[in-house]
């Protein structure tokens, strides 16, 4: 069943863009997400073979929602994504930048559908960073209108699919109409429990910590708490991710081959597994997402111990 009228049936395998960064420019140090190399191919073959064996052993009802190789018990509850590469995608195709952003929105819709299908509870996306305000005014205005349009068009889907929307970031910098729309949508969908989409707009990890710090300082000033009571738990209650049951992402995916966090959710990423995908965000589809999840499930998480 299509997730929305805007979707076409999702292909199982998305071909990597022929104009993506060539392999020889990419540092080869993590075989599971690097472009094809002999070692990478054999590792993926081993994983697929293991997945086939597990699928054979699995009960019929479990295999209906998850693809080969993925274990239901090891699915991440919260996945965060830095949706990088929209402008590069458009430039490589000689298209205007806005086409890249529109393709990015389509890619996001597909990933949301896949998350709902595969039982991931929360998806956080870095839609617009505090630093993005420095981009050309025309581009910023287009992005604001794209957010507005996207939220308005997909409101029906959020209700039909029981999706909760939360927006984090410094919303005071956004146009008034968009602020109102976001606040109303958050309020209207707050009881939806199947899946939560957290959209980070005008957000930075530093801003999140500093605003939490200011709130705690204000509470201490008003006598609601003692300064000596301030601990990790109180701090987390004041961070913007207090809107979800799972505030710490299990997996962070960054597309376009860049190896940095770019000021996204710094506190929350303490024990998050990082996955750097080579493809640009509009090309990031089910196949790449499956690779990321398979890689995640292979990792041994020690939480610092």
């Amino acid at each position: 069943m299509p997730f929305s009228l805007h979707f076409s049936p999702t292909p199982l395998i998305t071909a990597p863009s022929p104009l993506s960064k060539p392999f020889f420019l990419v540092p080869y140090y993590h075989t599971l997400h690097a472009p094809k190399s002999p070692l990478c191919s054999s590792r993926e073959h081993a994983l697929t073979h293991q997945g086939k064996q597990e699928a054979f052993d699995r009960r019929p009802e479990d295999s209906q929602t998850l693809p080969l190789g993925l274990r239901k018990d090891a699915m991440p509850s919260h996945v965060a994504v830095i949706m990088d590469g929209n402008r590069r995608w458009a430039r490589l195709r000689d298209l205007p930048v806005r086409s890249g952003y529109e393709a990015g929105v389509e890619s996001l819709r597909k990933i949301v559908e896949i998350c709902c299908k595969w039982g991931i509870k929360v998806l956080s996306v870095f839609a617009f960073s505090s630093d993005n305000w420095f981009r050309p005014k025309v581009e910023v205005e287009f992005l604001m209108s794209l957010f507005e349009r996207g939220m308005q068009e997909d409101t029906g889907i959020f209700f039909r699919e029981n999706i909760r929307i939360s927006v984090i970031g410094d919303l005071t910098k956004l146009p008034k109409a968009l602020q109102e729309l976001m606040v109303n949508l958050e309020e209207a969908t707050k009881n939806n429990a199947r899946f939560q989409l957290i959209v980070a707009v005008s957000y930075s990890g530093h801003y999140d910590v500093v605003q939490a710090c200011q709130r705690l300082a204000l509470k201490a000033k008003c006598g609601l708490i003692e300064p000596s009571d301030i601990n990790v738990s109180l701090m987390e209650q004041e961070l913007e991710t207090n809107c979800t049951e799972f505030p710490h992402p299990d997996l962070l995916i960054r597309t376009s081959g860049e190896f940095r966090i770019s000021n996204f959710m710094l506190w929350q990423l303490a024990y998050t597994e990082l996955f750097f995908a080579q493809s640009l965000w509009p090309d990031f589809g089910e196949a790449e997402f499956l690779k990321a999840l398979l890689a995640f499930q292979q990792r041994q998480r020690r939480y610092g111990v």
Binding site: G205, A220, R260, E273
Partner: protein, 282 residues
């Protein structure tokens, strides 16, 4: 005859060392054409796996080859290479607050190993004119270890060629919390005595109170051992850092690993500088 063979072997060894040293100098010379990172941070993961591989004992005594000895020497070698390259700040994640959850005998062995290494470190850093700084909640350490750490910090305070920051009893969340508490306390004092009407706590105030305030943000964070996560290390400072994960275990890290990491950093430096500038403007 035997003496001649030995002296020939020794000469061959010296020639090879000189040749590899020459090659290294040439490679470093090429690297210096591009931007050299000012600050490299290391997550020294893989010591236990290396010890298991080499079947090393826990005992750090002579002949026993303690589990973390090789890791210590790897850090010293990296320090030397970084100094040679012109990297001014080096940070190493030696012991996390979460590591206290390990088996008590393991923690004890690690603490004993660290205390032993501080004496060696004292000699080496004075030779290399390296300032040593310890970042972390040192109150969690034993009195002896804390005293040694403070002594080393004071003894090297005047050196300025390089700065080695050792993160011990450290997690980034603890660091941020500590900085937040300090900032709140300072704001309270400012409001009380200076009649300061501005209730806002600024980002720069929080940054000044970090354990890592002695060094700028890292340009590269290198993690050995094949994992791809930060493990509560420099979360605040890593926002624009180039993250480099390598399969090699920490005690096995070599010059080529470092060269590769720096080459990758040089590809992306322009973007990183631009972003740092924009954040300061904000």
């Amino acid at each position: 005859m035997e003496k001649e063979v030995m002296s020939s072997l020794k000469m061959a060894g010296n020639i090879l060392c000189s040749a590899s040293s020459f090659i290294r100098k040439c490679i470093f010379g090429v690297l210096r054409v591009g931007p050299i990172p000012n600050h490299i941070a290391f997550i020294m993961d893989g010591n236990r796996r290396y010890a298991k591989k080499q079947k090393l004992s826990h005992d750090g005594a002579a002949g026993g080859g303690g589990r973390y000895d090789a890791g210590f020497w790897a850090l010293m070698v990296m320090l030397l290479y970084c100094q040679e390259l012109g990297v001014k700040y080096i940070t190493a994640y030696a012991f996390s607050i979460d590591n206290f959850k390990r088996k008590p005998e393991e923690v004890e062995s690690l603490m004993a190993s660290m205390l032993e290494k501080f004496h060696l470190l004292d000699i080496l850093v004075k030779r290399l004119a390296v300032r040593v700084h310890f970042a972390g909640n040192l109150e969690l350490l034993s009195n002896e270890l804390r005293a040694s750490a403070m002594e080393l910090t004071e003894a090297t305070a005047e050196y300025s060629k390089s700065v080695l920051t050792i993160c011990i009893a450290y997690t980034s969340r603890d660091e941020i919390l500590h900085a937040v508490l300090e900032s709140c306390e300072q704001k309270r004092i400012d409001l009380e005595f200076d009649n300061d009407d501005d209730n806002e706590i600024k980002l720069m105030k929080v940054e000044k109170n970090m354990y890592m305030a002695v060094a700028p943000d890292p340009d590269i964070i290198i993690r050995t051992g094949g994992e791809n996560r930060l493990s509560n290390f420099l979360l605040w400072q890593s926002c624009w850092s180039h993250l480099h994960s390598m399969w090699v275990l920490w005690p096995e890290i070599g010059v080529w690993n470092l060269v590769f990491a720096i080459l990758n950093f040089q590809r992306n430096k322009t973007y990183y500088l631009e972003m740092k500038k924009k954040e300061k403007e904000l």
